[in-house]
Every structure is written in structure tokens, then in C-alpha cells.
């Protein structure tokens, strides 16, 4: 078992409302930049894993086209998950445990703009009762937000404050899509989109990509002056049917956080895939993060939500806090499914 696996390179595309480029076209420079920043020879990478969704692209085997951005000739060892790139990173992390290779490239990418998310996402639901209902992410999130409001676990003001802080943090993030210096009081005067959610409670519709290069032990030290070590990583899921669980809790986040070792030492910064404003507080509580933890300095998913890349981008942003901003210990979180059904938590540390 290899304990020492580090992030040694990362790159992102901007988050676009509607990208003019194709997915492989905008992946191309992102992957090249991540590899260049890692300082590794592309041909020496031992394993490649991608995360994307053909339903989003609207094309069968769209994920194969994305390999054109990798450099897959002569043939490479690669895999794909129909999930956020954070889970591609997890697969590569497992693959690196074998010890026979020392580097891996992982990436996530997606274009949400060509289709209608409200039509596409119901297809991931149970096909007998929820897909025919058209159970879409915003409606399901509104149910979860309502459950939390009714339980007294959050207020609409807190939701607006989260959104305002995210947008403000995003002002310094060149990859962000939604930036603003809003007063929560003003935001609360906006009408509901789907009660109790206002526009600022929702993520933007985004196209984009993110790539990360991983390396093991000595290879990571040789490649990087400041490798970002993955000290713990775990993912767990709750039951699929949103009606069969308490939506005011996220036990899968709590368990993944415990397994990843979030609470074993002081956390300085967290990048969380809170794709709806109310989720941030819930995630912070389930992860046991103190009030002084800096949450989503990038602006998070409320500022840029390239589905299939937004989770791996949290890992990249958490790594950036350590590699570029002098932090020592960070938490990254990714989510999949409706109402925080499946959650991945990673603990990152500098030397």
C-alpha cells in the first residue's frame, strides 16, 4: 500500500455559460497545462482516468472523443467514470496503490449548455417513479432546502450570505463565471425561482474542464517543490430515493469525512461542492469544520459549476491553497446525484 500520493499539477479552463469550443478542444490546453505544471513527460504517465457524462454531451461515446485531448497514441492505459472527475481521481489514487506506476493524469469535463439540465437530470433518477415526474435538480434541491428551513437548520438569510460571500470570493478567481459584490439584504429581495430558492441559491449553468496530475512518494518529491499530499480520501453514498432519507442530514458526507481523517488535525481551508447555497452549512456541520475554516475561497460551485469538473476543481482549488497560498491542511469535497446523495471527501496537506 502506497501511502504517499500527491497532487503535483493542476489546471482549469474558465467556466463558460456557453462554450464555443468543443469539449475536447477546451480540454486540450487544460490537460497540457496540468502536465506542464507537473513537469512530467506526457509519455511517462502511467494511468489516465477521465470523468464526463455522455448524457450531458448528447452523444454516445463522447468520452472517447475527449481522449483526443490526452495524447493517446501510442496506446495508453486509461479508464473513464461516468461521474465527476473527482471520482476519476479516486480511481487513479486506487490504481497508484499497486505501486507499479508512479504518475497518473485525471480530468473532468462537461458542457451543460447544449441541453436542458431540467430535462437531462431526471434521467439519472429512478426510472419508475421519479424520471416520469421530471424530478429535476432545482426542484429536489428546493425540497431539501425547505426541509432544512422547517427543521430550523438554516435560514434564508444564511443562504443569501453564503451566496454573497461565494460571489465576492470569486472576484479574484479567473476561472469563475458568477462574480459580484452583493449585499445579502438586496439578494433577499429577489423573487423565488423555485421556493424557497432564489436565483443566488442556484449554481450557474457552466461548461468547463479541470485536470490534475498525481504522483507517488519520491516521484512527487522529484517533480514538485511543494507536492500536495492526499492524506485521506473516501467516498460514500446515501440511498437513492430522496423520500427515504432525512434530507436535513448527509450521513455519507459525515462518514466519508471521518474515513478521510478530516477531524484528526486543524483544517485551515475547505473547498466544498455546495452546488446550492444551503448545502454549504450542512456540509460544514457534517464535516465538523470549525467556524474559522475558510470555506470556498475560489467562490465554489455557486460561482462556477462545470458539471463533471466542478468536484475535481474543488481538489485543484484546495491544492492551490497549499501550493500557492501557504496553507498547510485543506479539505476538498465533491458530490454526485441529487440532494448530496453521494459524497467524496479528501484531506490535503503540504509538507
Amino acid at each position: 500500500m502506497t501511502d504517499d500520493i500527491a497532487i503535483v499539477g493542476y489546471a482549469q479552463s474558465p467556466s463558460w455559460r456557453q462554450a464555443e469550443l468543443t469539449e475536447p478542444q477546451f480540454l486540450f490546453p487544460v490537460i497540457s497545462e496540468a502536465i506542464e505544471r507537473a513537469g512530467v513527460d506526457r509519455r511517462e504517465i502511467g494511468f489516465t482516468c477521465a470523468g464526463s457524462c455522455d448524457y450531458l454531451s448528447g452523444q454516445t461515446f463522447a468520452f472517447v472523443m475527449n481522449l483526443e485531448a490526452v495524447g493517446a497514441w501510442p496506446p495508453i492505459s486509461e479508464s473513464h467514470v461516468e461521474m465527476d472527475g473527482a471520482w476519476a481521481l479516486y480511481e487513479a489514487w486506487v490504481r497508484l496503490q499497486h505501486g507499479d506506476i508512479d504518475t497518473a493524469l485525471v480530468f473532468g469535463s462537461g458542457k451543460s449548455s447544449p441541453g436542458l439540465p431540467s430535462e437531462i437530470y431526471p434521467l439519472q433518477m429512478d426510472p419508475y417513479t421519479l424520471t416520469p415526474l421530471g424530478a429535476d435538480p432545482v426542484s429536489l434541491a428546493a425540497l431539501q432546502a425547505r426541509a432544512m428551513l422547517d427543521a430550523g437548520k438554516i435560514t434564508e438569510r444564511e443562504m443569501a450570505e453564503t451566496a454573497a460571500r461565494s460571489r465576492k470570493n470569486a472576484i479574484g478567481n479567473p476561472y469563475a463565471q458568477v462574480t459580484a459584490d452583493d449585499d445579502p439584504e438586496t439578494l433577499l429581495k429577489e423573487p423565488y425561482v423555485t421556493a424557497p430558492l432564489r436565483r443566488h441559491d442556484l449554481p450557474p449553468i457552466s461548461d468547463g474542464a479541470c485536470a490534475i496530475v498525481l504522483a507517488t512518494g519520491d516521484k512527487a518529491k522529484a517533480l514538485s517543490k511543494r507536492p500536495v499530499w492526499i492524506r485521506g480520501i473516501d467516498h460514500r453514498m446515501d440511498i437513492h430515493q430522496p423520500g427515504m432519507r432525512d434530507l436535513t442530514e448527509s450521513p455519507s458526507t459525515r462518514l466519508a469525512g471521518e474515513k478521510a481523517g478530516v477531524g484528526t488535525a486543524k483544517v485551515e481551508v475547505a473547498e466544498l461542492s455546495a452546488t446550492f447555497s444551503y448545502q454549504e452549512k450542512l456540509l460544514c456541520e457534517e464535516l465538523g469544520l470549525d467556524d474559522d475554516v475558510e470555506v470556498n475561497p475560489s467562490g465554489g460551485a455557486l460561482a462556477a459549476n462545470p458539471v463533471m469538473a466542478v468536484g475535481i476543481a474543488r481538489l485543484a482549488e484546495a491544492a492551490r491553497q497549499i501550493a500557492e497560498h501557504g496553507k498547510h491542511r485543506a479539505v476538498a469535497h465533491a458530490t454526485s446525484g441529487q440532494c448530496l446523495q453521494q459524497n467524496l471527501v479528501a484531506v490535503l496537506e503540504g509538507d
Partner: protein, 187 residues
């Protein structure tokens, strides 16, 4: 539970009932710049592609990169093809009448190697009976006439298929090309 409800209970031995559930998803994607240039050229009755500056491989429609060399290609790498070529391979599609299928008769789609370089796939030979389509045929382009020519069906994913601009290809009547001329380039 009342007796009346028991009477209405589902018979566990009844055959399972099925139902159809039709749905459709629409996608609208902007044409990327290099495919837009390909489409604009089609309107001018020109076929273009990009030649990789590193390995020399030619891509049509252009992709904006060479996936073999992982280098990006630009307008500077654009080349224009001749509008004559050799059929290198073909496939006959026999339509199955699934819901939404509009084709009824078998048709052929051919891959072409253009004279002077360049390849196009998913092309039509409208005047050639399906059973006569074969590799080695020498063909020339038939553009859709001015006024009718359009590129509405050209997308980022249409792989050179452009039926609104290219009516199809017709045999030139010359003898077939020798397999040596195309056998290592057939797709």
C-alpha cells in the same frame, strides 16, 4: 384493511403490464470556429482541412488539434483539397424501422481519399446502386446548386457529412484505382 379493499387487491398471478414512455432530448451546440470555417468553405464550394505541422496528418473537418502529436492546429495549417478522389471503404446501412427512423431503403456511406491528400467519411454516392459500391471507385463531387446549398446539418459532430452542401459523389468513369493507392488509408 377492509374486505372491499381486499377484493380490489392486485392478483399476484396476473400478467405484468408494460407501458411505453417516449421522451426526447434536444441539444443545441454552437459551431466551433474551425468547423465554422469548414462550413463557410463548403458554401464557397471548397473542401478544407488542417495539416498537422508536426506529423503531416490531415484532418477534415479540421479539429483544431492533432490528437496523435497533441499539438494545436490553426488557420495557418489550413489546406484545400481537390474535389476528386477514391472510394476507400464503404458500409451499407439497412434501416431498422425503430421509432423515429425516417430511412426506409438500404443506402451506402463511403469513405474517400481525395486526390492530393485528405480524407472524408460518411459521404453519399446517390446515383450508384448499393450493390455496385466498391473500394477503388474514382469519384468527383456534386455540389448542391447555388441557392439550394446550405450547411444547416453541419455540426461539431458530423464528421464531414454535409448533405446540404454536397449532393454526393459520382463516378468519373475512369478505371478503378489500384488497392496500392489507398489500402493503408482505408477507414
Amino acid at each position: 384493511m377492509t374486505d372491499a379493499k381486499q377484493d380490489d387487491a392486485v392478483d399476484p398471478n396476473a400478467p405484468v403490464q408494460g407501458m411505453d414512455y417516449f421522451m426526447q432530448l434536444e441539444y443545441h451546440e454552437l459551431l466551433c470556429p474551425v468547423v465554422r470555417e469548414f462550413a463557410d468553405a463548403l458554401m464557397d464550394k471548397r473542401l478544407i482541412g488542417h495539416r498537422c505541422p508536426s506529423c503531416g496528418l490531415v484532418y477534415s473537418p479540421p479539429r483544431g488539434y492533432c490528437p496523435i502529436c497533441t499539438v494545436q492546429t490553426t488557420k495557418a495549417d489550413e489546406i484545400e483539397f481537390q474535389t476528386r478522389g477514391i472510394v476507400t471503404n464503404y458500409t451499407v446501412v439497412t434501416p431498422v424501422q425503430y421509432y423515429g427512423q425516417e430511412e426506409t431503403e438500404p443506402f451506402a456511406k463511403v469513405s474517400l481519399q481525395l486526390d492530393g491528400g485528405g480524407n472524408l467519411s460518411l459521404q453519399d454516392l446517390p446515383d450508384v446502386p448499393v450493390e455496385q459500391v466498391h473500394p477503388g471507385m474514382r469519384v468527383g463531387i456534386v455540389w448542391a446548386p447555388d441557392g439550394e446549398r446550405h450547411v444547416d446539418d453541419v455540426t461539431n459532430r458530423s464528421w464531414g457529412s454535409a448533405e446540404g452542401a454536397i449532393r454526393g459523389w459520382k463516378p468519373t468513369g475512369e478505371p478503378d484505382a489500384s488497392p496500392d493507392e489507398y489500402s493503408d488509408k482505408a477507414f
